[in-house]
């Protein structure tokens, strides 16, 4: 017999859908079916059932092969590596729960680590912009219930956040938006003709790397001032038209992604986008929101916020927290040889960092904590597989609008596997012994 678990939270992207239904076997050992999830989310649940899943820690041998080790040995290696290092990098923290992030932070404090999360190659620039200019934002339910002007800038939710449009932004019928899609105007700014752009009322096919110019042009257009004939590849008439569309709405929302945060201009693009939103509040109501990627990257910024006061790139190596993106960010540290050990949890820098950084990880003492085999586990000295957060263990995660939701356990992890939090708790205890604190 089987049973169905409802209201399951999807631990994949920052959309953090919480309406999944998962069918599991009566003994909680097998996960059989996933309903309501997008293709990526469903795959994440089903992947936990892979027959070839690694269930015990392993250590790389001199000949390059893996040798299975016990969790105790993995704890000892990790604790010793961190305690012996002068300045270890503890990176990732975006695909795990806040409980693990909290224990990890205490380890970082005890060993003087640099704590960094995936924002460092993603929305870190947005976080810097927010420190410059602030951020008028809202929860996704405000968008659903009120927004009639939806602007996607440099993001493609049709592929990256597949249920975003149906749950929150384009299609849902909310309290003041009873006609759903028909009550909204959708604008997409993207150099590519994406699937999201294909359902937009207006697609501004901007020249690549000209986001700052176009954002600035919108601010000019709001004020009815003069524009050059073409800005960023867009004719001025179109810009005036879009400006008017935004101003005439009752509630405008801008969603933005990596297309603006990591293209030329970086945080300055976001400064300008937030300034556009501020300006719009002179005429109507407007908000802006980063499309956060990992399901709990937002949470790691929150946990470090209340423990240390900074959302990412937190250097604890001097005994107090310092924050200086460009200096205390992972890639800068790796490429300048400023860290002497690497600990990765809940992320895959092997797949997403520049090759020059990945080579440094390969050369250093390194541990990867990850339920999957990834490019990162391939370059690390020790791989510690753990239970899937949100599938085999619950815990808190923060949605892209900072709303915290408690993820659920739906199925048992394979016999004898540790969770992130359990593993870290053991490492912390051992680190404290080694450090004599």
């Amino acid at each position: 017999m089987t049973k169905t678990v409802t209201d399951v939270i999807c631990p994949f992207c920052g959309t953090l859908c919480d309406d999944l239904e998962v069918v599991v076997s009566d003994d909680n050992k097998q996960l059989l079916e996933v309903y309501n999830a997008c293709a990526i989310g469903a795959e994440k649940f089903l992947h936990s059932q892979a027959k070839d899943r690694i269930t015990r820690p392993r250590m790389r041998q001199e000949d390059g092969s893996w040798k299975e080790i016990s969790y105790d040995e993995a704890i000892e290696y990790t604790a010793k590596m961190l305690a012996d290092a002068k300045k270890p990098l503890m990176y990732g923290w975006s695909s795990t729960n806040c409980e693990a992030q909290s224990v990890g932070s205490e380890i970082g404090e005890a060993v003087g680590a640099v704590m960094d999360n995936t924002a460092t190659v993603c929305h870190g620039t947005s976080l810097i912009a927010v420190q410059d200019i602030g951020i008028p934002s809202c929860t996704l339910g405000e968008v659903k219930n009120r927004a009639d002007r939806i602007l996607f800038w440099g993001c493609n939710p049709a592929h990256a956040h597949p249920r975003h449009m149906s749950r929150y932004s384009i299609f849902p019928r909310g309290f003041f938006t009873g006609k759903g899609h028909a009550s909204r105007k959708v604008i997409v700014v993207d150099p590519r003709p994406t699937d999201t752009a294909s359902i937009a009322d207006v697609h501004l096919q901007i020249e690549q790397g000209r986001d700052y110019e176009l954002l600035d042009a919108l601010r000019v257009a709001f004020k009815g001032e003069k524009l050059p004939d073409v800005v960023a590849g867009i004719p001025k008439a179109k810009i005036y038209e879009v400006a008017e569309t935004l101003k005439s709405g009752r509630f405008a929302i801008i969603f933005f992604g990596m297309g603006v945060t990591q293209s030329i201009g970086k945080n300055h693009n976001i400064d300008a986008a937030i300034a556009v939103t501020r300006d719009l509040n002179e005429y109507t109501k407007a908000a802006i929101m980063p499309m956060r990627g990992h399901y709990n990257v937002t949470g790691s910024g929150q946990v470090w916020g209340w423990l240390f006061g900074f959302p990412y790139a937190v250097d604890l190596s001097r005994g107090f927290a310092r924050y200086n993106p460009g200096e205390t960010t992972s890639n800068d540290l790796l490429r300048r040889d400023e860290v002497d050990a690497v600990f990765v949890l809940g992320s895959d820098p092997g797949a997403h960092f520049p090759f020059s950084s990945v080579k440094k990880i390969y050369d250093l003492p390194s541990v990867a904590i990850d339920p999957h085999e990834t490019p990162t586990t391939e370059v690390c000295k020790v791989h510690v597989p753990v239970a899937f957060v949100g599938v085999e263990i619950g815990g808190c995660a923060y949605r892209m609008d900072n709303v915290p939701i408690e993820t659920r356990k739906v199925v048992d992890a394979p016999e004898g596997m540790m969770t992130d939090e359990e593993f870290l708790t053991h490492v912390l205890a051992r680190v404290k012994e080694l450090k004599g604190v």
Binding site: D18, V130, W306, G309, Y398
Partner: protein, 568 residues
């Protein structure tokens, strides 16, 4: 558990009525006991020192989403303020929005043991509880906000008190909340469209209910349930010249309503940070103090308590669920602005602010806050706060004590104002020579707020049976002292006991205590209509499901549940 005997201190305790006489205070099993109940206590020699109960803060923004926005978007707030870990203390930083660890340690250093988080957006309750869990030492509770909640607006439009009460009971349980908080009633919902409600009769767009109906209805629902604390309001029109009339209009909504609570409070309305609500004039050019009018009303109406919201003349971070106000403020000072509207429930904004002694308006605000306290006839109903961090960081409480206790200190501050004469002209403070004593301070910071919160059976005094929360300060009230000595001594408690655990010994933090989270569990008669409405709203308008909304137990590792039975 350990036993302690705090001997020969000068005790100030409004509960026992001790006004600085020498007395011994005994602690056993976490509680205050008669000295005869001890067998072999550790002796604390407090001769020549001041002994009080642990402080109780009725209103501070110390945990939750907007506080964390403040931390994360102000790296500059950490500049020059970071302290490495030391002994059992972990690393800590931040000035106006300190990290949770520093919040706990710094309150303890001032002899405070109970702090209420003043505004919890229900959808973000988990976040608030996570931060409170990571705030050491202090007993805490959080007030969910109700004044712009769609359920409340819909029920109170038709004056459905019983339904409102049932919803309040449900939400307090779901969010593990402590009291009914109201922030800019109706105005924050209007801010969903970029609008506001400027006075108590300004109707809320679409919902077609006035702020007056919301406030009065929530007072009635609060008394229907008999909750420990009264309805706790931040009125409309905060921070605007001439707003004292709106404040008086709001006060008047409590008239004729009697408290119905078994928890010993006498008020039905607590109005918070009244300094921000006591302005006369009609522009920033002629803004003036109306503290006299405000206090004339407060002094003559027993069913009302207030707190100060004292401006401390620092650079700080303002944060409030009053979304439209923060937008107004960023237009005024052009500093960065964060806003966070919350579906169906509330909103909030965060803007840094510099209260400069060189700016006339800031100096006038400073005067108004002190006037409220110095014009108070009953210090049991007027509490010391800074609306942390809105008017200034809580670490300035000892400085406010200095200003309240010393006319000389106030004179020194007047002399430091750039526009001293204009400030004196626009305010009453220069003509007030009252100096509060430590007994009155203990009323304003301990016994008063504890009573207002419905927690006088636990906190605020040194009577046997109360929690073993006791602070010893290196301050001899019977010897001559310079005003600054007050600030020094009360910033740095010599000893602190929290629920019978010694947290500070010889000015050093030696324990993280046994932190508890207080929440109110109210039993009400089954109300199928409200439960149907809840299901419907979650199905159609919320973006989380009903089953994922309630805060589960593990967010409160050490809960203290106050049970209320409203089924009768």
């Amino acid at each position: 558990m350990a036993e302690f005997l705090i001997k020969n201190g000068f005790v100030f305790d409004p509960v026992l009525g001790i006004k600085g006489d020498k007395a011994d205070i005994a602690i056993k099993d976490g509680k205050i006991v008669e000295t005869t109940a001890l067998s072999s206590p550790k002796i604390i020699d407090a001769s020549g020192k001041t002994v009080m109960a642990g402080g109780v803060d009725v209103h501070a923004h110390v945990a939750g989403p907007k506080v964390n926005i403040g931390r994360n978007f102000r790296p500059e707030d950490k500049l020059f303020t970071y302290k490495p870990g030391h002994g059992i203390e972990r690393m800590q930083g931040g000035f106006s929005v300190p990290t949770t660890l520093r919040t706990g340690y710094n309150y303890a250093r001032m002899g405070y043991t109970t702090v209420m988080e003043a505004a919890m957006p229900p959808l973000y309750a988990r976040h608030t509880h996570e931060e409170m869990r990571d705030t050491p030492i202090l007993d805490q509770g959080a007030y969910p906000v109700f004044g712009n909640n769609w359920f409340v607006l819909e029920y109170l439009k038709n004056h459905e008190i019983e339904n409102t009460a049932a919803y309040i009971a449900w939400l307090l349980r779901a969010t593990k909340g402590y009291a009914v908080k109201v922030v800019n009633p109706g105005g924050t919902e209007a801010w969903g469209w970029g609008l506001n409600c400027d006075n108590v009769h300004d109707p809320v767009p679409y919902f077609d209910i006035t702020p007056a109906q919301i406030v009065k209805g929530l007072i009635e629902a609060n008394e229907y349930l008999g909750l420990p604390h009264s309805m706790h309001v931040h009125a409309n029109n905060l921070g605007n010249p001439g707003n004292y009339t709106t404040t008086l209009d709001t006060f008047k909504l409590s008239e004729g309503i009697k408290p119905n609570s078994k928890f010993g409070r006498d008020q039905v309305m607590h109005h918070t940070h009244v300094q921000f609500h006591s302005y006369g004039g009609d522009s920033w050019a002629n803004v003036e103090s109306r503290a006299k009018d405000i206090m004339a009303y407060v002094n003559s109406h027993d069913n009302l308590t207030i707190d100060m919201g004292q401006v401390t003349l620092d650079e700080t971070t303002t944060m409030t669920a009053d979304g439209p106000f923060e937008h107004h403020l960023t237009e005024l000072n052009h500093l960065k602005w964060a806003n966070a509207d919350v579906e169906l429930e509330t909103g909030s904004g965060v803007v840094p602010y510099v209260y400069s002694p060189n700016i006339k308006v800031c100096a006038i605000q400073w005067c108004i806050g002190l006037e409220l306290a110095l014009l108070a006839k009953d210090p049991m109903r007027v509490f010391m706060t800074t609306d942390h961090p809105n008017a200034g960081p809580f670490i300035r409480y000892p400085r406010i004590m200095k200003w309240l206790m010393s006319e000389e200190a106030r004179k020194q501050q007047f002399d430091a104002f750039k526009h001293k004469d204009k400030v004196i002209e626009a305010t009453n403070l220069a003509g007030i020579d009252r100096e509060l004593d430590l007994y009155e301070i203990a009323q304003m910071t301990r016994a008063g707020p504890a009573k207002s919160l419905g927690l006088s059976h636990m906190y605020g005094g040194l009577a046997p049976g109360l929690e073993g929360d006791v602070a010893v300060f290196d301050f001899n009230p019977n010897e001559p002292y310079a005003p600054d000595a007050i600030e020094t001594a009360f910033s740095n408690a010599e000893c602190l006991f929290k629920a019978g655990v010694q947290v500070i010994d010889d000015h050093e933090i030696v324990s993280n205590g046994n932190k508890r989270t207080l929440w109110v569990n109210t039993k009400v008669n089954e109300n199928p209509q409200v439960m149907r409405d809840v299901k419907e709203k979650f199905l159609r308008y919320y973006t989380v499901t009903l089953n994922n909304y309630e805060v589960s137990g593990h967010y409160l590792p050490n809960p203290y549940v106050i049970e209320v039975d409203a089924t009768q």
